[in-house]
Symmetry: C2
Subunit: 459 residues, 2 copies
């Protein structure tokens, strides 16, 4: 990559404190690319670079650095640099950075903001951590419906510099209530002498500041927008949310769901950036919960100890049988959790999902049951490992598989419904959690079937 080639040159500029050449060199690059280069510097070098740089360029680059680097740099800067950096940052990026700091550090940062910026930052920090309010920027272009398009374009040229996006302008009334949003294309394609009110269709999609971040993803997807306005309960326009943030939210929500499905607490940072002990803690919690749950398998097996002692052959199939239940449960849970996250199914769909899983589970159970039966039958023609009653054992295993796979599908599909109904995130019913549940109940099914089938022969 280009960054690697230029690294020695950049290092030289930092060491010699050649501010002018550094500015000029980095100015030719996109801020996101400079941020990648910064990540390759040592802690002393990137701090020196951030000090040498200044103005909006510094803030843009800083916004692209990862969170731990941002925190480290921020807290190493002197008050003057800290203030100028924070005052230049985009509102949404600044809000999430400030929210990640300790209360003491946060108040030191807030103290360095201008009165206006400070009021703004504090108001944005008041929204809940996972609300749309935290993604908001109050910098947008708002216009009045009696203005001509030419007037709007002149207004943008004079006052649009701070706006997060100029792709959309917002029409408000005397009370700053949102009436409509107009995409810039509508203005650019129309006669400049036309009035805004003639372009309006009063079909305006907006978000609420208190909405969950995740719900914004669905609105952006459904309506294919690049920016959406945020209003309060009275309809007053508070700010806007842009799609670049929403794409990040969509990816991180999917990551969190995946991690929960994978049976661990969602990480807050990337795998590589998460400290080892945090990583262990986030994994240990669920691993212990699942372990305690799985202890019930030892209890369940204990009830059937006598049967196992009489027919050790039964124990041989325990891992095969319970893992089949676990796997079919994982599949069902994964499908249902993701369908919930994407809004493809709702709570009221439980009955149709139950019917589908009943049918799928039965078919899948038949397939696995048939394979299991054939395997035992086949082995028994070549060896005596399963003894003279191999046919009964094959029947017991086959029937158990049908029951357990069916049960796994039902449990995997219905547990997420139950959690959602109770107001808990369905992703928490992570696949291993379902598997553990199915393991314990599966053992009971298996041994019960075996006792019925083998009574009078092996047992």
């Amino acid at each position: 990559m280009l960054q690697d080639l230029l690294l020695p040159e950049i290092r030289e500029l930092i060491v010699t404190r050649d501010e002018a050449t550094l500015h000029e060199t980095l100015d030719r690059w996109l801020p996101a690319d400079v941020a990648i280069l910064m990540a390759k510097l040592t802690d002393e070098e990137d701090l020196a670079a951030i000090k040498l740089l200044g103005g909006p360029q510094r803030a843009r680059i800083f916004e692209y650095l990862d969170r731990p680097t941002q925190q480290r740099l921020l807290l190493s800067l002197n008050d003057a640099d800290l203030g100028s950096l924070l005052n230049e940052m985009a509102d949404d990026d600044r809000t999430s950075l400030l929210a990640s700091l300790s209360p003491d550090d946060r108040s030191r940062c807030l103290d360095r903001l201008t009165a206006e910026q400070r009021a703004l930052a504090e108001s944005l920090l008041q929204y809940p951590a996972d609300s749309v309010g935290r993604l908001m920027t109050p910098h947008f272009v708002c216009v009045r419906q009696h203005w001509t398009i030419q007037h709007v374009l002149d207004h943008i040229r004079l006052h649009g510099h701070d706006s997060e996006t100029l792709n959309v302008v917002y029409v408000v009334d005397d009370n700053h209530r949102l009436i409509d949003d107009l995409r810039i294309r509508q203005l650019l394609l129309a006669d400049p002498q036309r009035r805004i009110e003639h372009l309006m269709d009063s079909n305006c999609i907006s978000l609420r500041a208190g909405d969950e971040k995740r719900s914004a993803v669905e609105v952006f997807r459904r309506y294919d927008r690049t920016a959406l306005p945020v209003v309060d309960v009275t309809g007053r326009l508070l700010g806007i949310v842009t799609i670049d943030d929403v794409l990040d939210i969509a990816e991180s929500a999917a990551t969190k769901d995946m991690q929960k499905l994978g049976g661990l607490e969602a990480l807050d940072a990337s795998y590589a950036d998460t400290p080892l002990l945090t990583l262990v803690r986030k994994r240990a919690v669920w691993l212990i919960v699942l372990f305690l749950g799985e202890m019930l398998t030892a209890t369940a097996m204990g009830y059937f100890e006598e049967e196992i002692a009489k027919a050790v052959v039964l124990a041989l199939f325990v891992p095969l049988i319970i893992s089949s239940g676990g796997n079919s449960g994982s599949q069902a849970a994964t499908l249902i959790v993701r369908a919930f996250a994407l809004g493809e199914i709702q709570l009221r769909d439980w009955w149709s999902v139950l019917r589908r899983e009943l049918a799928s589970g039965f078919l899948l159970g038949l397939v696995l049951g048939a394979i299991g039966f054939s395997r035992i039958a086949l082995w028994s023609t070549f060896s005596t490992i399963y003894g003279p009653h191999w046919l009964l054992i094959a029947v017991a295993v086959g029937l158990s598989l049908i029951g357990i796979v069916l049960w796994g599908c039902l449990a995997g599909a219905m547990i997420p419904f139950g959690l959602k109904c109770a107001g808990i995130d369905p992703a928490t019913s992570s696949a291993p959690f379902v598997a553990t549940f199915v393991d314990v109940t599966g053992l009971v099914i298996y041994f019960s079937v075996a006792i019925v089938v083998l009574r009078g022969t092996l047992l």
Copy 2:
């Protein structure tokens, strides 16, 4: 929802074929909302509605319908309606719809396109199914560097109607090679008499038509763009990709990864839209593969049948022990697969991941081993279920857990690396697949440890 309230009225308009009122009513709505309403109509009603509607409004609504509905409606239309609908559709939506049809239906559709649209559709269909080319639209505004901004704005007003977005304009040279992209904000904020070349920074990010769709997501995220240009190998501008499509790609890529991690083949449609037999097939394939793999557990257990017969108590802990390995393997696999998908780790990071998993796995193993040991010790103070040698059993279980959890973490983390190295999608190393592998090897670890610890006493 509004749609439900208006449904009877809309049905009435369809039955009475009141085209004018229908047009007028639906015109007040956003196409995405009309599409939701259409989904509530019967098959006959929505076909009648699509026939009554016409022009661009019909195409916009149609684009928001789900794929099965689109296919059904399309193939029920007569040639004239089919042609006018397809000619009006956006290129990217049309390409993916055409690609989903059978060859016969596709060629019937292509025959109804105008010569120009047909050439375009055919050229877009030539890109591979999961390539950026399939997301592309060739409708964008391109300008020359010697033009003034005013000239560009006039040009947009005259020629911009078909452009997919006006948020970005593209500067090309005499050979239609891309030189730079300018966001509309840069044009709106500058003096209209300035020339384009004065705004250019020659810092232009572009995609290649042959790139994978997924890779586009990362570029959009890194550079926070709303549209990106697509060029061929010589740098000629072929088309643009807009972020609304990229958000869909990000969500569907995450869904596919999640489903693979959940141990099934990725579905092509939503859970509710997938026919039952397809659903069963996609699940059965992996369930059978995993079942065949798990059969090795029966074989492994067979080797230790003699030990189990001597000490039935050993069998009681089999489900507990192998599920702990499986759960820790799922966790590791989930973390690594997602980190790969987001580009957070690369193949060259295998060594640092291995070291982290070695440390995490050992710590997690210690925790579970200690709990397992304590559980057996505790139970033994109240009951005689584990016999006189309970301490040795507790030691065997505790030590096995350390080994198996460590092994689960290593296998879960390294199998995705191995698959990626072999050019296979790491998500295919779905968590249950790792679990199955760990189950089989875990049994061997458990019984080997037990034989060493219990030799001379129970065994």
